[in-house]
C-alpha cells in the first residue's frame, strides 16, 4: 500500500496523543497546575494534530463533516465520532484538573476508555480489510493499542512501566512481522483465483490493460525492496524499542534523557509505521502481475 505521509503522521501522532490522554485521565503522572497544563497541551496537540493531518489526503475535503454519520457500519466513521467524543470528555476533565484542581474519577475513566477506544477504531480501519491480508488480523489492533499505551506511558514519564510496556510492544511487533510475512500466502488469493482461470492452469500477465500508471497502481501496488525492508525493520525496532528501553533502565532520570527516549521512540515508530503501509500487499496487485 502507498505509504501516504499524512496517514503515517496521523496514526503515529494521534495514537501517542490518545495514549498520553488515557494515562493523564487515570491520574498518571500525579501533577497539577502549570505542569498538568503542559502535559495536556502536548497530548491534545498530538491527538488533534494527527487528526488534522489525516484530512490532508482527502480528495474532497468539504464533505469531511459527513464522515461522522455512518458510525453504525463504518470503522472510519466510528473513529471520527470516537476522536471527537474523547477530545470533548478529556477537555472537560483537563479543565477540572488544571483550573479547579479536581480529578473527577468517573469522567477520567470514561475519558481513558474513549481515548483507547479511538485508537482501537483506528486499528480496525486497517484490520477489517480482507483485501490486505497483512493487516487483516487481530494483531493489528493489539499493535496499535500497545503503541498508544506504551508510547503514552513514555510521554507520561512512567519510567518502569514504560520500559516494560515497550518491551512487550517489541515482542508483539516481532510476532506481527512474522505472522504478516506469511499472511498473503495464507489468504489463498492468487492470480489463479482472481481470474478464475486456475481450473485450466497456471496464469501469468501477458499484457497490462493500460500502458501508463493509474490510481490503483499508485495507491495499492506500492513495492518496497525486501532488503531495504529488513534494514528499516532493524532501524525502526532499535529506535522505537531498543534505545528508549535502554535509556529508561540504565540512564539517570532527567528531562534530557526523557526527551531523547521520546524522540527516538517517535522516529522509530515513524519508520515501522511507514513499513506497516509499504510492506502491505493488496490483492488487486495480483491482477497486474505484481
Amino acid at each position: 500500500m502507498h505509504p501516504a505521509p499524512s496517514v503515517i503522521i496521523f496514526t503515529t501522532l494521534s495514537g501517542l496523543g490518545f495514549g498520553l490522554l488515557a494515562w493523564l485521565a487515570l491520574g498518571y503522572p500525579d501533577v497539577s497546575g502549570v505542569v498538568a497544563f503542559v502535559f495536556y497541551a502536548i497530548a491534545f496537540a498530538l491527538a488533534v494534530g494527527g487528526l488534522l493531518a489525516s484530512t490532508f489526503h482527502l480528495g474532497n475535503r468539504k464533505n469531511a463533516i459527513k464522515a461522522f454519520s455512518q458510525w453504525r457500519t463504518s470503522w472510519l466513521s466510528r473513529e471520527g465520532v470516537g476522536a471527537v467524543t474523547s477530545l470533548i470528555v478529556m477537555g472537560v476533565y483537563a479543565a477540572g484538573h488544571i483550573f479547579l484542581g479536581e480529578k473527577w474519577g468517573a469522567l477520567g475513566v470514561l475519558g481513558a476508555v474513549l481515548s483507547l477506544g479511538t485508537v482501537f477504531t483506528t486499528s480496525m480501519i486497517y484490520a477489517q480489510l480482507k483485501t490486505v491480508p497483512r493487516w487483516n488480523t487481530p494483531w493489528t489492533s493489539v499493535l496499535f493499542m500497545l503503541h498508544a499505551i506504551a508510547g503514552g506511558a513514555l510521554l507520561a514519564g512512567q519510567v518502569t512501566v514504560a520500559a516494560i510496556l515497550l518491551a512487550v510492544l517489541g515482542l508483539v511487533q516481532i510476532v506481527a512481522w512474522q505472522q504478516g510475512d506469511g499472511a498473503f500466502a495464507a489468504s489463498g488469493a492468487s492470480l489463479e483465483t482472481a481470474t478464475g482461470l486456475g481450473r485450466i492452469g497456471k496464469v501469468r500477465q501477458l499484457e497490462a490493460p493500460h500502458s501508463g500508471e493509474n490510481y490503483l497502481l499508485k495507491e495499492m501496488a506500492f513495492e518496497v525492496g525486501r532488503k531495504h525492508a529488513r534494514k528499516l525493520r532493524a532501524i525502526g525496532f532499535v529506535l522505537a524499542i531498543g534505545l528508549p528501553v535502554a535509556l529508561l533502565l540504565l540512564a539517570p532520570v532527567n528531562h534530557f534523557v526523557a526527551l531523547l527516549a521520546v524522540v527516538s521512540h517517535i522516529a522509530g515508530v515513524f519508520a515501522t509505521r511507514w513499513l506497516f503501509f509499504a510492506e502491505a500487499k493488496h490483492v488487486v496487485s495480483l491482477y497486474y502481475g505484481r
Binding site: 464522515a67 480482507k130 489463498g188 482461470l197 501477458l206 499484457e207 493509474n214
Partner: protein, 245 residues
C-alpha cells in the same frame, strides 16, 4: 446508512464470456465515452497528450496467458469492472454514506455529493473496481449505466450498459440474476459461470464464463499436399529473366 440491504428485489449484473472476448477494448472506450459525458463528474485524464498519459476508467481489459499442465498455453482477455457484490465491502466501510447498494436492483453506486474522497472503499474492494478521480477527488465506479438501462428517452435496444451494447463479439451480457430463467442466469448454469476471488467473501453478482475446453488432436497428423506449381511458359521465362537481373 451504508448498511447493505438484506435482499434486493432484482440482481442486475453482467455475465462476461472469457471464451468469446477478443480483447478489442471497445467496451473500455464506450464505457469511458458514455460515463464521461453523462451521470456524475467526468472521468478525467492526466497528461492526456504527454509522455505518460493516465486517467480514470470504470472498465479495463487485462490479458493473461494460461498454461495447463500439458498442452499449449492460451491467451485469455479479461474485462474487469465493478461486480456489484451482494456483500460489497466497499459500501460498509464508507464513512460519509456516499456508497450504497440499491435495494430495488442491487446496483452499487456512489452519491458524489457526499463522497469526501478518502479512498477507503477502493482499499476494501479486491477487484480494483473503484478509482478516485484525480481531478475531481471523487470516487468513480461502474454504475451499470443506470442512466441508460431505465432511460425512456433512448431507443429500447440501447437500454443496456454501454459496454454490453458495444461489444462486437457478444462477450458481455446484461440481465437479472434474481430471475432463474433470465438469459444471464441460464448462461451461468449452462457454462459453469464462476465468481472472482471467492475467498474474499464478497458474493459478486457479475459472473465470468470460463473459456471452453480446447479441441484435442486425435491420432497422427499429416501435412496437406503442396498446392502451388512451378510457373510455365511466359511466366516461367519472366521469372527466370527477373532472377537474372
Amino acid at each position: 446508512m451504508t448498511a447493505l440491504p438484506e435482499k434486493t428485489e432484482k440482481k442486475l449484473g453482467l455475465v462476461i464470456d472469457l471464451d468469446t472476448c477478443v480483447g478489442c477494448h471497445a467496451c473500455v472506450v464506450n464505457c469511458k465515452e458514455w460515463n464521461t459525458s453523462n451521470y456524475g463528474t467526468p472521468l478525467s485524464d492526466m497528461d492526456a497528450y504527454g509522455a505518460a498519459p493516465e486517467g480514470t476508467f470504470l472498465n479495463r481489459v487485462h490479458s493473461y496467458e494460461v498454461t495447463p499442465q500439458s498442452g499449449c498455453a492460451q491467451t485469455v482477455h479479461f474485462p474487469k469492472s465493478c461486480l456489484h457484490c451482494d456483500d460489497a465491502p466497499c459500501v460498509t466501510v464508507c464513512p460519509t454514506g456516499a456508497s450504497y447498494k440499491r435495494s430495488e436492483d442491487g446496483i452499487v453506486l456512489v452519491n458524489e455529493t457526499d463522497c469526501m474522497g478518502c479512498g477507503l472503499c477502493a482499499w476494501a474492494c479486491p477487484y480494483g473496481a473503484r478509482e478516485l478521480d484525480q481531478l475531481a477527488g471523487i470516487m468513480k465506479k461502474c454504475t451499470l449505466c443506470v442512466d441508460r438501462i431505465y432511460n425512456e428517452n433512448i431507443p429500447e435496444e440501447d437500454r443496456e450498459p454501454a459496454c454490453v451494447r458495444t461489444c462486437p463479439a457478444g462477450a458481455r451480457h446484461f440481465g437479472d440474476f434474481a430471475d432463474p430463467d433470465s438469459k444471464v442466469s441460464r448462461l451461468v448454469a449452462e457454462r459453469d459461470g464462476m465468481d472472482l476471488m471467492p475467498e474474499m467473501g464478497t458474493a459478486p453478482v457479475n459472473k465470468y464464463l470460463p473459456p471452453r475446453k480446447k479441441d484435442v488432436l486425435v491420432g497422427e497428423t499429416k501435412q496437406l499436399d503442396a498446392k502451388s506449381e512451378e510457373p510455365k511458359g511466359f511466366l516461367a521465362w519472366l521469372d527466370k529473366a527477373l532472377e537474372a537481373i
